[in-house]
Structure formats: C-alpha cells, structure tokens
Symmetry: C2
Subunit: 191 residues, 2 copies
C-alpha cells in the first residue's frame, strides 16, 4: 500500500511475487502484466524499469522455480543414505514440487527455455543418485547413467504434467505425489 516508496529493487521482487500470486490464482491465460503493476500499486509502465517485457518477468519467475526445485532436490537427496529410498524420495519430491508450486512448475516449462544452469544442477542430483543405484545393482547397468537418468526424469516429468491436469482420475492419477512417483518408479524399474 505504500505507493511509490520502493527502493533498491524491492519493486522487482514485489512484481515477481505479485506475478506468482496471479499465476496461482488464475493461471497463465488470465495473467496480465498490467494487473501485476496494479497490484503492486505502480503504473503500468513501472515494471519496464525492472524487466524488458512480460516474458522477461515470467523468466524471472521461472528462475526462482529452478532455484527452489534445486534446493528441494538437494535436501531430499541428503535426507537418507539408502540408495533405493533416495531415488524414490527424489521422484516423490519432483512430483510434489509440481503439485505444491504449479505456478512455478508450469512457468519453468512454458516460456522461453531458461539459460540458467540450475536446471542442469537438478539433473545432476538425479544423475548421481542413478549412478549409485547402478553401482549397488539396484537397477540395470546396461544403459549409461546419463540415459537412465534422462529416462527417469522423463517419466517423473510426464507424471507431474499429466497428474496436474484435472480429470485423469480415470487413470488413477489422483494419488498423492509420493505414491504416484513410487508406483511409477517401481513399475518401470522394478524398484
């Protein structure tokens, strides 16, 4: 409410937060840069001091998503020493992230691909865990760790995307994220 009293880029974060609010409330199709400005109490031209365009603001939202996801996966990987359990928890964390932060998740995989390396960091957490699982002979060692990690990522990503859409109760997609991931990983990998 403190109109026009932003300082040191506080408006920048306020715009990102407002964008996330609107995305969570109404989704991407109803998202409007003008409304973000209105909600922050500034003119419709003000955001252009901090972002080049609407897409640029959305890219900043996506970047926060990549950072949050990486944090979550990092903590999850450290939460257990059991190799099998770690893989299952990583899968659950990925699908849960999508369900808990659909505004971030959808934004990350919608607009222009992020040049930020943090998506790669997240992949590497999975990659290490896959490597360990192969070393422990829990999963097939015939495909390279990279191919195996890529395949598991695809399965988790597809699961997240599909289960986020409403009426897939027909396919039993209404389970909790952790169960979805666990069932899928054990079906595909025999875990």
């Amino acid at each position: 409410m403190s109109r026009a009293t932003y300082h040191h880029g506080a408006l920048r974060q306020a715009l990102i937060d407002g964008a996330r609010e609107i995305l969570a409330e109404r989704g991407h199709d109803q998202f409007s840069l003008n409304e973000v400005a209105r909600r922050a109490g500034v003119s419709t031209a003000a955001p252009y001091r901090h972002f080049e365009s609407k897409d640029d603001l959305l890219a900043a939202v996506a970047d926060q998503g990549y950072a949050t996801l990486h944090q979550t996966l990092d903590r999850t990987a450290a939460s257990t020493d059991d190799v099998r359990e770690r893989l299952l928890r990583l899968g659950g964390a990925y699908v849960r992230f999508a369900h808990d932060h659909p505004d971030l998740f959808v934004t990350m995989f919608r607009g222009r691909p992020s040049p930020s390396p943090v998506g790669v960091d997240s992949f590497n957490i999975l990659l290490r865990s896959v490597f360990d699982a192969q070393a422990a002979d829990l999963i097939s060692t015939h495909p390279s760790p990279e191919l195996m990690a890529r395949s598991i990522w695809a399965a988790l990503h597809g699961l997240a995307v599909l289960s986020l859409r409403q009426p897939h109760q027909r396919f039993g997609m209404d389970e909790p994220p952790e169960d979805l991931a666990a069932h899928t990983l054990s079906a595909l990998l025999g875990l």
Copy 2:
C-alpha cells in the same frame, strides 16, 4: 480468398485450419483470434457464430489432435505382430506425433481438459499392448497392466514434452523421436 462465401460450416473448418497455421508459425503466445478471422477473410465477430470463445476454438483444435493421435496409434499398433516391436513403435509414434504436430500436441495438453473420450481410446491401445507384453513375459507382471501402461505413458509424455523444448542437447534430447522412445523404453523396461 473467396470473401464471405462460406457455406455449411466451411468457415468453421477454415478457422480451425487457420488457427493451426498460426499456432505452428508463431506458437500459443502470439496466437490471436482476430488474426484467425483476418486470415479467413471475415470480420472479427464472425468466429463467434461457430465457437463460443477463443478457448472453444482451441478446444476444437485439440479435438482434432486427439483424433489424429488415435488414428496414428491405431495404425501403428496394427503394423506388426511382434509384441516387443509393437510397444517400441507405439512409443516412437507418440513422440513423433508431438514433433510432427507440435501445434496439436501443445494445444491438447494446454487449455481446458478435453471431455472427448478419444484420449481414453489412445490410452487403451497402449494398455492392450502392455497387457500382451506382460502375457509374453517381456516386461514385469508385478504391476497391474493399468499401472504399467500409465507409467509408460508418463515416460513417453515426459520425453515428448522435454525433447520438444530447444536447448536440451545437453541431455542428448536431439535424437530422432523413434530413437528417443526406443532408448527410453529399453532403459526403463529392459526391452
């Protein structure tokens, strides 16, 4: 070019075709109903005789996508009697469909979920093939066919979505669709 000479719903299909053109050329974010009308040579109000809204037109595009996908999968499933080969071809066909018709694929999984039962039909083709593969002891019989088909669908869908985004060369996602699907299915299922 035959301005205002549409008859028996020919405009309806012309609008759908125009929408697909624009979606393929410029993507969803640049898509405009007014431009669809302009391209068809009618006023901006004309589409409202055939569709309730912009979203309704996009839903019609999605429906054509579900129909085309189902056709493709149906033919693919009939193209071989080898159970293993059929599963691999179905996977390849799914990812190839996404790459050949990104306008349709993205539209199908974007707007409001389609109430059309043809997505279920496509799933059932996969389900039958999974059932056969389990009966032939090619893949694990421990998970139910439904759960196994759901998991494979998730993997293929994730693969399609992720490989459609540009700069994932880092993860080796620049292979042809058939190879992507085959590598993933054999990594996950040991096929």
